[in-house]
Amino acid sequence: MKYETPAPDRQIAMVLDLNKCLGCHTCTVACKKMWNTDAGTDYAYWNNVETMPGKGFPANVHDPATAGRDLDGATKRGQLPDLDTGYGRAWTFNHKDVLASTGAPVKEWLRPREEVKWGPNFDEDHGAGDYPRENHYFYLPRLCNHCTHPACRDACPRGAIHKRQEDGIVLVDQDRCHGYRFCVEACPYKKVYYDHVRQVSSKCIFCLPRIEEGVAPACARQCPGRLRFVGYRDDPDGPIHKLVDRWKVAIPLHPEYGLGPNVFYVPPMSPPKLDADGRPTAEPRIPLAYLESLFGTAVGPALEVLLAEREKTRKGGTSELMDLLIAYDWNQNFKLDAHQREVLS
């Protein structure tokens, strides 16, 4: 029996413009420093950046076999990533041995103490395709999608996961959680992480304490590429509504699982592919079919809108969409309301 997920009063959401992503992982580090510096989540990245095409993080996350849903959205058993080949252990290093080396002929050198099998950015810039005709890659930053129908919530036999009424943020109750990890298995995005020290699961909280005060999440506010927009789905003046609903250029990742993600992506354009002789073609390097495997069939139309609006500005015209994506005033990327909360002074 599935849980019914009551619709929240409002839904907070994020849009990421992949055409501005630098692959710098400042978002990842901002998030890491803020929330996941403890021993049990040393391996975990509530926010991570993947080079696509690639195996991602955890490895094979985009492989439907790992998801707790099939491609029609029906529930099936998902996979639980292991620490070495799935996530990549948070390697420790031998600085002390190296910096105080004895000068023996074969010196100890700085390297991971653990055997390295995978990591959060292991396939950095690997990409796909033959150089120089069709090689391609792009960066895909990922965080919890705070889904409208969260697979994690549906997976918890303890009812420890809830979706906040006021903003739709999906949270794992750290008191109720018993660390069973059905949520980890079920989530096709693998965005719940098991804290192997505290033996509970935790996940992106959309920087809830910041949101409560009208401050954008660290991953968004610290993004030097300025590619993230944060606001409420229902705010017609906010960036989310404009990009998702009005312009329809921002679309969710893996819509096929039917979970209703509330993180949206402006899909990537790419330079032209070359023909067999090396002549530029009219076709982008990233195959549309590949993008569709990630973003579904909405990706084609979204790219068309994007290119059409850009064509206007290339011809000297103006475009509200382009202006929005440019983000002349960066503060406008975030449209939030602070609501007071109690603090001990």
Binding site: N19, W35, W109, D125, Y131, Y137, P224
Partner: protein, 988 residues
């Protein structure tokens, strides 16, 4: 006295930084809110009641105080404002302040800036490589055997050894290089001030690290040019040419991608499908090292279709200057008239049908480029020389056309490996563009023939009239200068007397008077006087040289390079060096002995230098004292005699170095006191000068001759360092105030910076480093564009011809056939091996800072890696993540292989600056990189072509290195031993 403040200017190219003061709690200030009321609601942050598990999260976002900071000493080419969150005396995290304003309407703002490294400096600060106590070596150098000692002992022993070395070898054997890790605050001012006042030798390392744009110096007379990053947004044709902003300029890269949305076209030229290329409209996968050829094809096309800005070309470039057909050199005053000047050049006057003096060239009295006629850039005429002979002359433009003639799209396609259609599309884009802009990074200077590549790019821009036009031109890392920094490091007394003294130390009173007169009489522009002053100061006052020159003082080192470069130029490398020295073109320092005492501060010489095995064998091992003053255990430090723990970047007052990308000064406050026993450099040198002075007095040390550029009395060293006692041990903030007394930070106070972290510059600075921006009108508001001094004010460019230079008739350039930019194949350095070893500044580190930080290593693969195309891996039988052996004539190293489809087959690509101790045997790939020295970079005597700090000097090119790659199956790897029996006969 009023005179002094207006004429106070400095002639140093570098500036400083700083830090200070207890953390200031400004919880309301760190986010921008739409209204003050909203801001008030945020804090101060208390501790939420533990009413629920959610409060555990809320408690993580609390703090005691917030200090304003930046990563002061980081050698990253920009600056970002950060809030440093302090809780229980620990900086727990950092987040961008993000309070920059739009420069002008219609241009995106700079927020939030920052990068992943800046977002985790706390991981470095409290990380496993942090130094915390003074250490003294007890085993052999590099043995890793250390003893913990007290500061008093360290300072006393170091002082003693400095005195002994100075006594025996002269003060010039006290050696520091400039950095490149330094800030513009008191800690760097202290470091430089010590070196300056002790009569020690400063070695510039701009070129040695591969960052000096000699092509720009040749073409325009300065190497550092570029405005604010938001100027990129204004271009309609953005050409990223040998740069990867997504990786190396993370805070600024967004302007490129936003410009695309505004309708600009973005072209990326890179053998690697870089993180910038992925966002391009055109990616040109060019063959390695053939960029000049592409530039020549574009220039040819622009001339061919007439898509040039002819009035600009006539006025601002050397295309109308006349060249003799018989000699292939400029027509000069000395050719035409008795007593005529070598420096007077000519144009053809079509109405007068005669050669007329070109205004603005270095020999012409008119210091303006304004023309009252339209000199042709094509044609051929006869002129009569002073001896009565008639010779044919043509304008440079005509020669250029002929020179470019072979560079058809077809031929260029053969050289560059690009398709004709790609080249055509690119060239037509140039022709169409109204505001073409080329982004060319420091990394564009790492080929033997990088100068030709950059000259070719600049040629294209010059033809389009783009240099000096807002929203167009050449973006190659400009600087804003803080003249107060140069004062701070030179003054010997407090206040105005000290500043006056500093000024008179740089220029003699009579010269100063003459200079004022020259400006008043318009015989020289103010900028020219400044440059002359800089030249005089650098050549006669400052004990300055460059790192290549220092290395060459060791015959064994020069031998190695001479062997490596055999056949790469008409004469051997050593012959050019010999001629350069004979002509007085080189710095001539060190004159008496190779370096004996090395203070490493903000540098990692043994990590950075090419062929460190030779450096170790021929320079390092002969030094008597090596001190590393560093917050980090660097490889260089581990090979030193003493490691003195420097305060980290959040622990000392600092000013992030001031590049023009972000036209704000960035202050680094003291968020927490120096960790453990560390001290900031201002204090360390304060203590050292005090001890040297004490010992000098006790020994009644004679006054030293310095390095022949003024004497230095070490018995007053501390008196001078401390401004006669005005600066106490902990007075770094006083120095900050002195530094802020700069034309670029007019009215900016320390208090304001502690509150806001940033303040917009009010000018580009008055000393020469800054005048590279050459926009005398910019006062803060608006996008910072550059070079208007020439294009709007019509002052001559600081070149031989007074113009943007395409043609150089220096005899060495003629010998090398590089009068015009040409394409030359990348020479094979390190032997004839199948892979070209191409580097990029790192994504995950700023040079060796952050290089060994676990948080960063986990986002890589934990060990140094070389990137190759998967097809190459398959061919070689090396799987992704396998170890491979990289080998060439110098030996071999072991590295992990990383597959990337972005990498061109035949290229072995790496992000640089891994510490040698991250490799087996503590030998990095640097042991395989000879670092070619282009002989032309030792040329001189030709206005802009003359040894100068920050502008012109020999470097060390890494990108021409070749190597082979084979599977590693357990075989030993390592560099070949250096034969230390020194050969004779080579000039030194």
């Amino acid at each position: 006295m009023g005179e002094v403040s207006t004429s106070r200017r400095t002639f140093l190219k570098f500036a400083a930084a700083g830090v200070a003061a207890g953390a200031v709690g400004l919880p309301l200030y760190h986010y921008r809110f739409r209204s003050p009321e909203e801001a008030v609601r945020v804090g101060p942050r208390g501790t939420p009641p533990l009413g629920s598990w959610e409060d555990l999260y809320r408690q993580r976002w609390t703090w005691d105080t917030i200090a304003k900071g930046s990563h002061g000493w980081a050698n990253c080419r920009s600056a970002c404002a950060w809030d440093l969150y302090v809780k229980d005396g620990v900086v727990v995290r950092e987040e961008q302040t993000a309070t920059y304003e739009q420069s002008e309407p219609g241009v995106p703002d700079f927020n939030p800036r920052g990068c992943q490294k800046g977002a985790c400096y706390t991981e470095v600060m409290y990380g496993p490589s942090r130094t915390s106590v003074p250490l003294k070596r007890v085993g052999p150098r590099g043995s890793g055997q250390w003893e913990r000692i007290g500061w008093e002992q360290a300072i006393s022993e170091i002082a003693e050894k400095c005195i002994a070395a100075a006594n025996r070898w002269g003060t010039e054997t006290l050696y520091q290089d400039l950095g490149p890790n330094f800030d513009f605050g008191p800690s760097t001012a202290g470091r430089f001030k010590f070196q300056f006042m002790a009569g020690g030798m400063f070695a510039d390392n701009w070129a040695e690290i591969g960052d000096l744009n000699l092509g720009a110096s040749m073409a325009m007379g300065f190497a550092h040019v570029g405005g604010s990053a938001d100027e990129w947004f204004l271009s309609d044709y953005l050409v990223v040419w040998m740069m990867n902003p997504s990786v190396t300029q993370i805070p600024d890269a967004h302007f490129l991608y936003e410009a695309r949305y505004k309708g600009s076209e973005l072209v990326v030229i890179d053998p690697v499908y870089s993180a910038t290329a992925v966002h391009a409209d055109q990616w040109l996968p060019i063959a390695v090292g053939t960029d000049a050829a592409l530039g020549l094809a574009v220039a040819r096309h622009l001339l061919d279709v007439g898509a040039i800005d002819l009035p600009y070309v006539r006025e601002q470039t050397d295309l109308p200057l006349l060249v003799r057909l018989d000699t292939g050199r400029f027509l000069r005053g000395e050719d035409l008239v008795e007593g005529g000047l070598e420096t007077q050049l000519y144009m053809w006057h079509p109405q007068r049908n005669a050669a007329v003096e070109a205004p603005g060239c270095s020999g012409h009295e008119a210091r303006s480029l304004v023309l009252d006629f339209e000199p042709p850039i094509d044609g051929q005429w006869l002129v009569r020389l002073k001896d009565g002979a008639e010779v044919g002359v043509v304008p440079v433009g005509a020669m250029l056309k002929e020179h470019l003639d072979p560079w058809t799209f077809d031929y260029t396609a053969q050289v560059t490996g690009l398709h004709v259609e790609q080249i055509r599309r690119f060239a037509e884009g140039w022709a169409r563009a109204e505001r073409p802009m080329v982004l060319s990074s420091w990394g564009s200077n790492r080929y033997m023939h990088s100068d030709l590549m950059n000259r070719a790019k600049i040629l294209c821009l010059a033809l389009k009239g783009a240099l000096g036009r807002k929203g167009a031109g050449y973006q190659a890392t400009g600087w804003v200068d803080l003249d107060g920094f140069a004062n701070a490091m030179q003054m010997e007394r407090p206040g105005i007397a000290g500043r006056l003294g500093a000024l008179l130390g740089t220029i003699e009173p009579a010269q100063l008077f003459d200079a004022m007169l020259d400006i008043a009489m318009k015989r020289k522009t103010q900028n020219e006087v400044e440059r002359e002053g800089e030249y005089f100061y650098t050549k006669n006052r400052l004990c300055t040289t460059d790192v290549v020159e220092v290395n060459f003082t060791a015959p064994g080192y020069l031998d190695a390079l001479n062997r490596e470069q055999e056949g790469m130029s008409p004469r051997p490398l050593a012959a050019y060096r010999e001629e350069s020295r004979a002509n007085g073109w080189g710095p001539g320092v060190p004159a008496n002995a190779p370096p004996k005492v090395f203070f490493s501060g903000g540098a990692n010489l043994l990590r950075r230098n090419n062929l460190p095995q030779y450096l170790k064998a021929f320079v390092w091992d002969d030094m008597e004292l090596i001190v590393d003053i560093n917050p980090k255990f660097s490889f260089t430090g581990t090979q030193a005699d003493y490691i003195l723990p420097a305060a980290g970047w959040y622990e000392k007052a600092g000013i992030k170095y001031t590049m023009s990308y972000i036209p704000y000064v960035h202050y680094c406050d003291v968020a927490v006191p120096p960790l453990a026993e560390s001290k900031d450099e201002f204090e360390i040198y304060w203590l050292l000068t005090r001890e040297i002075e004490r010992q000098a007095k006790a020994a009644d040390l004679p006054v030293f001759e310095g390095c022949g550029r003024g004497s230095t009395d070490w018995k007053t060293l501390h008196q001078r360092y401390s401004n006669r006692g005005d600066l106490g041990q902990h007075d770094a903030e006083k120095v900050v105030r002195e530094i802020l007394d700069s034309s670029a930070t007019k009215g900016v106070t320390l208090e304001q910076l502690k509150r806001d972290g940033i303040a917009r510059f009010t000018a580009t600075g008055t000393s020469v480093q800054a005048s590279a921006l050459h926009n005398p009108d910019w006062t803060g508001p608006g996008v910072l564009n550059t070079l208007t001094r020439f294009t709007e004010h019509k002052e001559p460019w600081p070149t031989w011809s007074g113009r943007i230079t395409s043609f150089i008739d220096h005899p060495w350039f003629i010998e090398m056939r590089e009068q015009f930019p040409v394409h030359k194949d990348s020479p094979k350095a390190g032997g004839d091996h199948p892979f070209q070893f191409v580097s990029c500044h790192a994504r995950w580190s700023i040079h060796s800072s952050w290089r060994d930080t676990p948080m960063m290593l986990r986002l890589q693969r934990g060990e140094p890696q070389v990137w190759i195309n998967p097809a190459e891996g398959t061919r070689l039988g090396i799987a992704d993540y396998d170890y491979a052996e990289l080998y060439n004539d110098y030996g071999s190293v072991r590295m992990r292989v990383k597959y990337s489809t972005a990498v061109r087959p035949g290229v072995a690509y790496y992000h640089h600056a891994w510490e040698p101790h991250q490799f087996p045997n503590h030998e990095s790939y640097k042991w395989l990189i000879p670092g070619l020295v282009n002989p032309l970079h030792m040329a001189g005597g030709y206005q802009q072509i003359d040894h100068m700090m920050n502008r012109y000097q020999p470097g060390s090119a890494v990108q021409d290195t070749r190597l082979g790659i084979r599977p590693w199956t357990g075989q030993p790897t390592g560099a070949k031993p250096v034969a230390t029996s020194r050969s004779d006969g080579e000039p030194t």
